[in-house]
């Protein structure tokens, strides 16, 4: 996984609350292999009408926000389904950070597993940031070392679980870390088989 330290990029404001994972990637696109890329399907029904024409008023379609790597939005971003494809769509589109007042739990953990930073700010700071981006050149700096966002004349602190922060700062992958605990996992299973002999389903009806 890529290391995340400081990000200087365009920050696209998306002033909507409750953007759930069904909107981030509608279910109908989830039959595809990741190798094909999921970026085109990001927020598909917000970006395109039923004839596949771009909605002119969707910020993601505006020329000035092309190339944005940071998304700034309102509360409860990524609620809903556990589909990691929602993160794939954001990442494949080019986003590496989402700033919002609250996130769906599963989405946030999926994000971190893919090197995408979910940065939590207060509702007031989110509103200030949304406004500042509109009236400035739209660039922002997200510093994961100091947990600060700078944009226009604003300096805004953000929150992230310290464990997730460490993981992102180092680009760590859980699986390798866990495999280094294989002996402990083995010991747990041996002991557990004695204390909970009923754990493994015995009956295997045809």
């Amino acid at each position: 996984m890529d290391v995340f330290k400081v990000l200087d990029a365009l920050a696209c404001p998306l002033p909507l609350s409750g953007i759930d994972t069904d909107q981030l990637i509608p279910a109908r696109f989830m039959k595809r292999s990741r190798a094909d890329g999921y970026g085109n399907f990001l927020l598909y029904d917000l970006r395109f009408d039923e004839n596949g024409q771009r909605h002119p008023d969707c910020p993601l379609n505006a020329p000035r926000w092309q190339g944005a790597k940071i998304l700034v939005t309102r509360r409860n971003f990524g609620s809903g389904s556990s589909r990691e494809a929602a993160v794939y769509a954001l990442a494949d589109y080019g986003f590496t950070c989402v700033i919002a007042p609250s996130f769906g739990d599963i989405f946030a953990s999926n994000a971190v597993n893919n090197g995408l930073l979910p940065a939590t700010v207060s509702e007031e700071d989110a509103e200030a940031l949304l406004a500042a981006l509109e009236s400035s050149d739209g660039s922002a700096r997200v510093d994961l070392e100091t947990c600060e966002i700078r944009a226009a004349n604003l300096v805004i602190p953000f929150r992230i679980d310290p464990v997730w922060r460490t993981k992102l700062l180092n680009g760590w992958d859980d699986i390798d870390l866990t495999l280094s605990h294989s002996a402990a996992i083995e010991a747990f299973q041996v002991n557990d088989a004695k204390t909970r002999p009923w754990l493994v389903p015995k009956s295997r009806p045809a």
Partner: protein, 481 residues
């Protein structure tokens, strides 16, 4: 071992969590052992990751595949359906075969929606840690298990190591005290809670549901309640195991049997939280004040009693909320202040892991018996087992005589992945759990409600208080018991 965050009396959640800690880190991350891992067609991303590492499944005996998300409900013949959908199903078959996993496939007499099948087959037990790449995994918490949804990276992690890194969440207790009124169900209880605390109200928390009204719920009702935990933002939701839990589990195909069961039962009952265990947050509701609920917007928190009217954003002082309400009413095509019972619907869907169990079908049938639906609709039982039971009780005839389609089990119109869609602009009275924009198909409009309410809406063609329609038919709710 001192894995507990703090010493002192522990909650149900803490007791189970502590029992599963393989190793704990100084930063608070715990490596948790996973007892049940449930997979569905969407798991292909995780299997791809396994393949990339040339890895195998550590505990095939604790891992189960289920065909539910993409399965057709009007035919079981894969040759007769969209090849892309058939491919999703075959992919799961290939992956489970390659790794030697038990698969509940389309032709299996136990096939069904993962969160219906697990409890029904006795795969779901108290005290277990249960994960699945599906956010409604919290459903299984009805048995007093820690059950939660995970993403594809985590699915791959569990397949390879049978563990997950987790931080102990905060604990929240939601108590519902007193008695639910007639015609008020677990669904109404859950939607009332979400309307009260918000769709992110329980974020970062493990919920324990308690109180006399929760204890009085059947296992089916508890499953519905726990199912909706994620719609309040909760990491998981659970109810402490009791005699009702044990009675449900005895003789289930995959549950322990004989002396094993009795031994397990002692262990399970001891998991109950200690009386003075502390919660980070507590919310209390009065059951008597809960009315039949419907949603009017695009988030499960946009819910109100059927006797109410849609909100008026111009009268709201909270600007962010007003903006959301405006967007929601606009998408839903509802006037500010419009009485909810005036909202006409185009179709109904009775199904999904929230409300497709036998009790749910009985409740819908009690309303529908001898009546005709004014709109088309689909009734999809939660599993092949539920389907057989309903047919033995003659419920399928009530549905078809009312003009509704009686189809096979699967996720179906809850998410529309199998092609059962609500057409653009149409309004569906639905027993599912998500009314998100486009959830049931592009441009679809969803109103969430209980099965009895959906049945009543089918009969009148608009959102309806079903209580008058239920009069004299209450016995139908418990038929067959």
């Amino acid at each position: 071992m001192v894995h507990s965050a703090e010493a002192g009396p522990r909650t149900l959640f803490d007791k189970i969590f502590d029992q599963h800690v393989v190793t704990a880190r100084e930063d608070g991350q715990c490596l948790l052992f996973i007892d049940r891992h449930l997979l569905h067609e969407g798991s292909f991303h995780a299997f791809d990751k396994l393949k990339a590492r040339n890895a195998s499944v550590l505990r095939p005996d604790l891992t189960f595949g289920i065909e539910d998300h993409y399965v057709p409900t009007r035919t079981r013949d894969l040759a007769a359906i969209d090849p892309a959908i058939a491919h999703m199903i075959r992919q799961l078959r290939d992956n489970t075969t390659r790794h030697g996993l038990r698969l509940f496939g389309l032709s299996d007499p136990a096939q069904g929606i993962v969160h219906v099948l697990g409890p029904e087959q006795g795969l779901t037990l108290p005290g277990l840690t249960i994960v699945c790449g599906d956010s409604h995994t919290a459903t299984h918490g009805a048995f007093g298990a820690i059950a939660f949804g995970i993403g594809a990276s985590e699915v791959a992690h569990v397949l390879m190591t049978q563990t997950l890194w987790q931080k102990r969440p905060k604990r929240m207790r939601i108590r519902v005290e007193g008695r639910l009124g007639p015609g008020v169900f677990a669904k109404d209880m859950a939607l009332s809670i979400i309307a009260m605390i918000g769709a992110d109200g329980a974020a970062g928390h493990a919920i324990e549901y308690a109180g006399s009204a929760v204890r009085a719920l059947s296992m089916e009702g508890r499953l519905t309640l726990c199912n909706l935990s994620i719609e309040a933002g909760g990491r998981c939701g659970m109810v402490a195991p009791d005699e009702m839990t044990l009675a449900y589990l005895r003789e289930r195909p995959y549950a322990p049997s004989g002396t094993d069961f009795e031994r397990a039962a002692d262990h399970w009952l001891a998991l109950r939280g200690e009386p003075d265990a502390a919660f980070d947050r507590e919310v209390v509701l009065d059951a008597a004040e809960i009315a039949p609920i419907v949603t009017w917007g695009i988030s499960p928190e946009d819910a109100a009693p059927i006797t109410a009217s849609a909100p008026d954003p111009d009268r709201m002082t909270d600007h962010a909320r007003a903006a959301h309400v405006r967007e929601a009413l606009d998408y839903m095509g509802i006037r500010p202040g419009q009485p909810l019972t005036e909202i006409a619907i185009d179709r109904v869907f009775i199904g999904s892991c929230t409300n497709s169990r036998i009790e749910d079908l009985r409740a819908a049938a009690a309303i529908l018996a001898g009546r005709r639906a004014r709109v088309p609709g689909l009734v999809s039982p939660g599993s092949a087992v539920v389907k057989r039971q309903a047919e033995e009780e003659g419920l399928h005839r009530i549905f078809t005589e009312a003009g509704l389609d009686w189809v096979d089990a699967g996720c179906s119109m809850c998410v529309g992945m199998n092609g059962d869609l609500v057409p653009p602009g149409e309004r569906c009275a639905s027993t599912t759990n998500r009314n998100f924009r486009g959830r049931q198909g592009p441009g679809s409009r969803t109103h969430l409600m209980s099965p009895a309410m959906a049945a009543a809406a089918a009969i009148t063609g608009h959102l309806t208080d079903m209580r008058p329609l239920l009069q004299g038919r209450e016995s139908g709710l418990t038929k067959g018991r």
